[in-house]
Amino acid sequence: MSSIAAAAPAVHAHHDDRSFIRKYIFSTDHKIIGIQFLFVSLFFLFLGGLLAMQIRWQLGYPGRPMPGGGILPETMAPGGVILPEYYIQLVTMHGTFMVFFAIMPLLVGVFANYLIPLKIGAHDMAFPRINMWSFWSAFTGGLVMFASLFVPEGAARAGWTMYAPLSARHDLSGAGLGQELWSISIVLLGLSSILGSLNYITTIINNRTPGMTWFRLPLSVWALFITAILGLLALPVLSGAAIMLLFEQILGTHFFDPAAGGQVLLWQHLFWFFGHPEVYILILPAMGMVSDIVANGSRKPIFGYHSMVFALVGIGFLGWVVWGHHMFMSGMNPTLGSTFMVTTMIISVPSAIKVFNWMGTMWRGNLRFHVPMLNAIGFVAMFVIGGLSGVFMAATPVDMPIHDTYFIVAHIHYVLFGGSLFALFGAITFWYPNMFGKMMNERWGKIHFWLTMLFFNLTFFPMHILGMGGHMRRIYDPTQYNFLKPYQPMNTFITIAAFALFASQLIFALNFILSLKWGKKAPLNPWEDNGLEWTLPTPPPHGNWDRPPTVYRGPYEYSAPQVAEDYLPQTKKLPTDREPAAAPVAGH
């Protein structure tokens, strides 16, 4: 029986004589780029959280001066009292930062970059320099968006969905430069996404190491592949729309101007044609990584690997024809609306298949409740709730009263926070040792998980009730409506829970930062995982492998009978294994 555990990998680090700047600032190494995305995105996640705290203050204590609000300008919050003009900026920018500069780059910018070459046995991405430009383009976009908070008239304020004509006309919104900077920032982000996607797609198609056939790819890689295709084809539509919006703002075009024959719904269609694939971009990588972690934590192969792949492909495919469900109340063509209702109902099926498969994986597994596993299980549970509310919204007649209410806000946050963010907490903890050579603290990780789970549900579950009671989104002062006054105690309750939720995240932040220096040194394969990335030193050297490794089996051979250990890495050769088919003629 072979002993996998302690054998040091026979790998020699490439002789690396690059300068500090080439190594860590303008790096073309996919691992460094992934880590760059990580630090920048965590900053924006924190910023989005700060904006959310202010929103919750206003909703919980309408019109009352906010503690610390004195630092805000008088035009936005005189005496710390949030003005409506500022409130609508908070709501807009919270959504914008969280979607575009936190969750998307955390899932894709970090993990596509970091994991793909490692998990497929490649030295780096197909185009390392384009990868670098992808990061710096996103960074510049983030800088522009951040700057828009500080311009004289304030930031964009038409909601993160930027509906025209409010977003297009300065006389309607009151925002000028801030609105224009939003458009410019989004174009830069779109470019970053497109460049990244083309890298991921090319690398996965062409640079898989011998033996790494399509159906031996880990589900994280499959998910990132489908995500990249979605990003490649959806982001350009957003960029086009954002450019049209910018021209509307600065060149006086009339795309969305009904008085000149333009169509307001054109913006909505363009935006959501991008927007729906976007939400799958925000969940698919999380699903993929959760699959890897759940298999690892269950010490069992993923249940139904092939159906998991087909479900990913199915979601990617169907995701293009459901966008109208965001527009049921827009006044769109009703027949078109009904079509979207049907397609939206259908798309719940592949997601359900995945949930059953995760449960099937855990069933009678030798469960290890390490921090990543806890977060992954949390993902599954919260995603089910978020998905169920989606079924409500998919039915057009049901969507009519709940559209633009807090029911939608609850859904969004159950899938994005309960789903994507929990998956991220798990994924960051899981791959932290590979990235930094240290372990995050297990005990504080568990405390963070349970506190987050508690306060997350206390914050967002009541929003379903608010929404069904008619509490609308983006509203500044609910108490102005008599029918909403009875809900005010619930709003206050949510606010307090939200403050506790935010405070709990400080535990994760501290755990992350302090472990960089004082964390336990990571052993070679701390999670006893099958992935290729764990056959390298932690962290892996520049260029990853001296010679490309050979893959002999699929990614989830846990509790395999052939070996004593309960895991069997993809690259471990057993006497019964055959070499993969001869590689094609030597090339570049």
Binding site: A583, P584, A586
Partner: protein, 227 residues
């Protein structure tokens, strides 16, 4: 596993690797990029189609009234010629003729640059006569012509006409310009002897981009100028 020997064929997919799409990375990457470009132009051209369809019963300006067909027909011819010269450049280097490749590449760059120049001229001409992204400028020659004959000049839809025309052709022109700059860079590398029969990936790949730009123009010329 043996390392790649000195006779590595870079015009083949990377190795050792599982079988992908049987082309080298740069070519696959360019095709993937072009797929994204199709979606970008879909947003712009699709919006044009939607807006023009939706504008009826208000009439759109008739072909040739606001825009000059003679100049743009010549430009179309020029771009098609540049596509031929580009593919001849590729064929030359694929057959091993470096010198001929450089000649054809230069021809392509000159045709492309001329195209851009003519477009700039067209734009200044149009703006001078009062056609701008927001429609017909008040008090301009075009505004007066449109007031006199609102059907022929599509007075009621002038705002949409200007918005869609300048955005579509402007971004196409931007892509052509990027192409000319990239080809100039490739040409300089060619002068330094970087391309050969064994490695002419850069030529093939910039050719793909250039043909794509030509293809978009073929669509644009028809649906913007002729319909």
């Amino acid at each position: 596993m043996a390392h790649a020997t000195a006779t590595v064929d870079v015009m083949r997919p990377p190795a050792p690797a599982e079988r992908g799409v049987d082309v080298y990375n740069l070519k696959l990457g360019m095709w993937v990029f072009l797929a994204s470009e199709v979606m970008f132009f879909t947003a712009l051209i699709g919006s044009y189609i939607v807006l023009r369809f939706g504008a009826s019963p208000n009439p759109w300006a008739q072909p040739g009234k606001v825009l000059s067909i003679q100049i743009t027909a010549f430009n179309t011819f020029l771009l098609i010629c540049s596509s031929v010269s580009m593919v001849k450049a590729y064929a030359s280097i694929a057959d091993g003729n470096v010198k001929l490749m450089k000649v054809w590449l230069l021809v392509t760059i000159l045709c492309g640059a001329t195209f851009v120049g003519i477009q700039v001229y067209e734009y200044t001409h149009l703006i001078h006569h009062g056609f701008q992204p927001s429609g017909f400028r008040e008090g301009s020659e075009l505004a007066e012509l449109a007031a006199a004959d609102p059907v022929k000049y599509g007075a009621a839809t002038a705002g949409l006409y200007g918005s869609t025309f300048f955005t579509m052709t402007g971004f196409h022109g931007f892509h052509v310009t990027c192409g000319v700059i990239s080809m100039t860079y490739v040409f300089i590398r060619a002068l330094r002897g970087k391309y050969s029969q064994q490695d002419h990936r850069g030529i093939e790949v910039i050719g793909l981009y250039w043909h794509f730009v030509d293809l978009v123009w073929i669509i644009l010329f028809t649906i913007v100028y002729l319909i």
